[in-house]
């Protein structure tokens, strides 16, 4: 869809400001009811989803042009989808899709942040989002005897993703995950240095063409390796393979699973058994890309129709993605099945989770804002007396660590994989 295709929604944004908060139905502790990190941090309405509708409408009407302020509000947004969930409690609008399309328009017209330009140039050259050398991509798996999917076939492909591949501090997680599969007897392989970016983070910045390019490459790679299931510990990759590839008409014909989903299967069928106690009170942070953003894409083509006089409906009926069907229970079930682990919930969970702050190019362009957002989440985790904050995404994990190094209160941060390893 082009920006102008959202004009109907722009006109019908009522300015209720629900996009700034988690849904009222989900509010538990009144100290933790804000939903949009951008609006919470920068205050002006422009930073909320409603403000984006307003600016786009003004832009389409020739009232405003590109400016630093416009760009600041558009890109100091994590595209975390919290606004989308809340908006859809009271309206049939698509704020998240719109905000993404607005970024595509910025990119199309050359309005690119210098930090993003550098990152995208790096991607084009080295096929990753971390400005690292492509040749080093497989280093994380050094010493692990595993099939090379560029040369061999396997039933399961283990995809590390850019963050885990190049962030050495996170290597124990991704190595641990792969070893869990190997030890469980799974017929698994990796692409190593031949793995390339999923294209998703570039897409979120507004580079739509990169998603198509990498989707095509990655689908080919899956086919060539004869893979039946793709498993990834990266929540970003998971969402883009599962949701956005489908959105652009390139739905993989293999099963796409987040690592926690596959792990859950192995635990349920008894292949993985816990033998040790992990005495720890933890709270679980729902990664946006595994949670509300991971709902399957819903294709719809039709038209608006009026019923009951003026009520706006759709022909055929249109199902909206409302965030409730993300992967929420599986990570929790894994955690609570680990002996000794006590799970305490934060106040903003599931589709109302507060973002970690790393998404949609914010970490690259506005690291202070990324850290602030993570700091807010750490405060919430502390408030429920959790000893450790557990997540299931490398980007979240990295951002929490960075926030603590930048001054946030310290607490232990784990990936679910690490806790599972401790229990075996």
């Amino acid at each position: 869809m082009a920006l102008q295709d959202f004009e109907h929604d722009m006109q019908r944004c009522t300015r209720c400001s629900y996009c700034k908060w988690i849904p009222y139905e989900n509010q538990q502790n009144m100290d933790f009811i804000k939903g949009c990190p951008s609006a919470a941090r920068f205050n002006f309405h422009a930073y909320a989803a409603s403000g984006k509708w307003n600016m786009s409408y003004s832009f389409l009407n020739g009232r405003i042009d590109y400016s630093d302020a416009f760009q600041d509000a558009v890109y100091k947004c994590l595209l975390c989808g919290s606004c989308d969930v809340s908006c859809k409690v009271i309206g049939d609008l698509e704020p998240l899709q719109h905000m993404h399309e607005l970024r595509c328009k910025f990119v199309e017209d050359g309005e690119i942040l210098p930090e993003h330009f550098v990152t995208i140039e790096g991607l084009k050259k080295e096929d990753n989002m971390l400005l690292a050398k492509k040749a080093d991509r497989g280093n994380w798996a050094e010493g692990i005897a595993v099939k090379n999917l560029s040369k061999e076939k396997a039933k399961v492909a283990f995809r590390a993703g850019c963050r885990y591949s190049f962030d050495q501090e996170l290597w124990p997680i991704v190595r641990g995950g792969l070893k869990l599969l190997i030890d469980a007897g799974v017929d698994v392989g990796i692409w190593g240095s031949e793995e390339v970016c999923c294209g998703g983070r570039a897409y979120s910045i507004g580079f739509a063409g990169e998603l198509t390019k990498y989707a095509e490459h990655n689908l080919e790679a899956l086919k060539a390796a004869g893979v039946e299931t793709l498993v990834t510990p990266c929540a970003d990759c998971y969402q883009h393979y599962k949701v956005h590839y489908d959105k652009i008409g390139k739905k993989p014909d293999v099963e796409i699973l987040h690592f926690t989903e596959y792990l859950h299967r192995l635990i349920k069928e008894g292949t993985i058994k816990f033998t040790k106690e992990v005495p720890l009170t933890v709270t679980y942070h729902d990664p946006c890309h595994l949670g509300r953003l991971a709902e399957p894409w819903i294709h719809w083509k039709g038209k608006e129709v009026k019923v009951m006089g003026q009520t706006i409906c759709h022909e055929p009926p249109k199902k909206f993605r409302r965030g409730a069907n993300g992967v929420y229970d599986i990570p929790r079930e894994i955690l609570t099945s680990i002996p000794g682990v006590k799970l305490v919930e934060m106040y903003r969970t599931r589709e109302s989770a507060w973002c970690c702050g790393a998404g949609a190019g914010v970490k690259e362009a506005y690291p202070d804002f990324a850290n602030w957002t993570a700091t807010e989440r750490i405060k919430e985790a502390k408030s429920v007396n959790a000893k450790a904050l557990v997540t299931a995404c490398g980007w979240c994990r990295r951002n929490f660590i960075d926030a603590m190094e930048a001054g946030a209160e310290k607490m232990e941060v784990y990936d679910i994989i690490e806790l599972v390893q401790k229990a075996i």
Binding site: H8, M10, Q11, R12, C13, T14, R15, C16, S17, Y18, P23, Y24, E25, N26, Q27, Q28, M30, I33, N43, F44, H45, A46, S50, W53, N54, M55, Y57, S58, R63, I64, S67, A69, F70, A73, V85, S86, K88, V89, I90, G91, D92, K306, M308, G309, Q310, T311, I312, C313, H314, P317, K318, K319, F320, R322, G323, A324, N325, R350, E351, S352
Partner: protein, 535 residues
């Protein structure tokens, strides 16, 4: 007209560069709101010259003084969910977004009041108060509406009006930055005795502060207000259901909280429904009671789901029109089981006398009704999701007999538009009808239409309805000044005060004198209030 660099700098010096903007992209996020197409014939109202985010009373005082010095209009707002929030009489005006002033300062359980800043919304205060066994009246604008906006600056109608009155009747003192920049603390708070009374020492200023429908930011800034609290009979915390895959809009409490009971009662006719509301009010037994109206419709995740549900229910023989306009919903509450029993017995006796039938409710239906009545959950969705806009006209407050007459006249006026499909058709014009203060203050009535502002025929129909119902020489003139207008009373467009003043004792003259006295330089934006002198 833009501010000069010197003027802008003077404001920036007060709040800091990060809390002020004159970027066109930002300014155009402060002039778009529902209702604008109806009022201004476009989504945009006047673009402000700057938007300022003050953080304290002192900053607001300094801003007001700068505005007086340079003759700059200013208008404060909290959530900004009303047309009146942004309308400016001219472009040499600034908007004061009070988002940074969001503290609940005090919940005084013993003296039953709470003191809040402007950006505290009604639901947040309700939930915090509940922890202490108290609550605050509800607001029709929904859970996001500001406590101060509803109580001090706007009409403040809500579903708990029978037991709490409209929020405008609950002000127990304010800290008020007058348009001149001086601070006036109203009531007992001024003496340091606490915020328990808005009156004294000296004459009460509550009428001057807000009158009947509020000054809508037209004469200064309320930086703190104390509002009255009422008993909360439920548990200190409530939690909505967590069913996997269920979107937030479908979540419910599961059941009506202990301490409360919900009823839906069908009466023989609309006329008897009015009588039932009157008697229940007089009996002083209900926490909430109102005509069922549009609340009878299934909620649905979205319009398509709602429409599918409606079709299914109609196919099963349900006639919404019949149910909606001769039935009432009631919430009874008490802190003892005997108290609740007494109230229920009394209610059922009234129903027996009026031949009413209590309709069976599932626990989920009761819970949905409870959240709607107590916190206005679902009201905003119902108002906006179907078409994008709604309007309430005719609307008024008065005795049950007068309100019944207005209702009948409203049905007569609006039905042809409904029949032609120009506004949403749920059988009859929707009704928001509540006995106020246990019926001692009459009834509050709003006749609600939902129109599509971007459909020219629908927009034209709504304009005709308003024109006819708000014509000072038309059939509705005896029901009083159209003081609400769905929050769309913009004097620069409607000229309501100018048109209606001469008919009702020249009341506009007194309003203008108040405005002139409080705001000698006319810097408090008057577009949603009244100017000292009509231009």
């Amino acid at each position: 007209m833009a501010l000069t660099d010197r003027e802008y700098q003077a404001l920036e010096d007060i709040v800091g560069a990060e809390n002020i903007s004159r970027e066109p992209a930002f300014l155009d996020t402060y002039n778009q709101c529902w209702g604008h197409k109806l009022v201004f014939d476009q989504k945009f109202s006047t673009r402000p010259a700057a938007v300022v985010l003050p953080g304290s009373t002192e900053e607001l005082q300094a801003i007001a003084k700068i505005c007086n010095k340079y003759r700059i209009l200013f208008k404060p707002f909290s959530s900004g969910f009303e047309v009146v929030s942004f309308a400016l009489a001219n472009e040499r005006g600034i908007l004061l977004d009070l988002k940074r002033m969001d503290r609940i300062i005090e919940i005084d359980v013993k003296n039953m009041h709470a003191v809040v800043e402007p950006y505290v919304n009604i639901y947040r205060l309700q939930r915090e108060a509940m922890k202490h066994g108290v609550t605050v009246g509800s607001l029709g604008a929904g859970p996001s509406a500001g406590v101060i906006a509803g109580s001090c600056c706007h009409f403040g109608a809500g579903t708990t009006m029978t037991s709490t009155g409209g929020l405008g009747r609950n002000v127990l003192g304010v800290e008020w930055v007058l348009p001149t920049g001086d601070v006036l603390t109203m009531g007992t708070a001024e003496t340091g005795a606490g915020w328990f009374s808005a009156d004294g020492p000296g004459p009460s200023l509550r009428g001057v502060l807000r009158g009947r429908s509020g000054a809508n930011g037209g004469h200064g800034i309320i930086t703190k207000a104390s509002v009255k609290l009422y008993p909360w009979y439920g548990p200190p915390e409530v939690k909505f259901s967590e069913q996997p895959g269920l979107p937030a809009s479908g979540k419910t409490l599961g059941e009506v909280p202990q301490g409360y009971k919900a009823f839906m009662i069908l009466l023989p006719s609309t006329e008897v429904m009015f009588e039932a509301l009157l008697r229940i009010g007089k009996a002083e037994i209900a926490s909430c009671v109102m005509a069922t109206g549009p609340a009878v419709l299934p909620y649905g995740e979205g319009n398509d789901e709602q429409w599918a549900e409606i079709q299914k229910m109609e196919a099963a023989g349900m006639v919404f029109e019949d149910l909606a306009f001769r039935s009432i919903v009631v919430l009874l509450g008490s802190d003892t089981s005997r108290g609740l029993e007494y109230r229920e017995k009394y209610l059922l006796e009234i129903m027996r006398q009026l031949e009413g039938v209590s309709l069976p409710l599932t626990s989920q239906q009761g819970a949905v009704m409870f959240a709607g009545l107590m916190w206005h959950f679902g009201f905003v969705t119902m108002a906006f999701r179907r078409t994008g806009d709604f309007f309430v006209s005719p609307t008024s407050d008065g005795s049950p007999d007068i309100m019944l007459k207005m209702r009948n006249a409203a049905v007569e006026l609006i039905q042809p538009y409904i029949d032609k499909g120009l506004v949403v058709n749920t059988g009859k014009v929707d009704l928001f009808l509540i006995p106020s203060e246990n019926s001692t203050a009459g009834f509050h009535e709003e006749n609600v239409t939902y129109y599509d502002p971007w459909d020219p025929d629908s927009l034209q129909a709504e304009r005709e309805i308003i024109q006819k119902s708000e014509d000072p020489n038309g059939p509705f003139k005896s029901f009083g000044v159209p003081h609400l207008g769905g929050g769309l009373t913009i004097e620069t467009v409607s000229h309501n005060h100018q048109r209606w003043g001469p008919i009702y004792d020249n009341y506009d003259m007194w309003l203008r004198q108040i405005k002139d006295m409080l705001d000698p330089n006319s810097v408090g934006d008057w577009s949603a209030y009244i100017p000292g002198v009509f231009p």
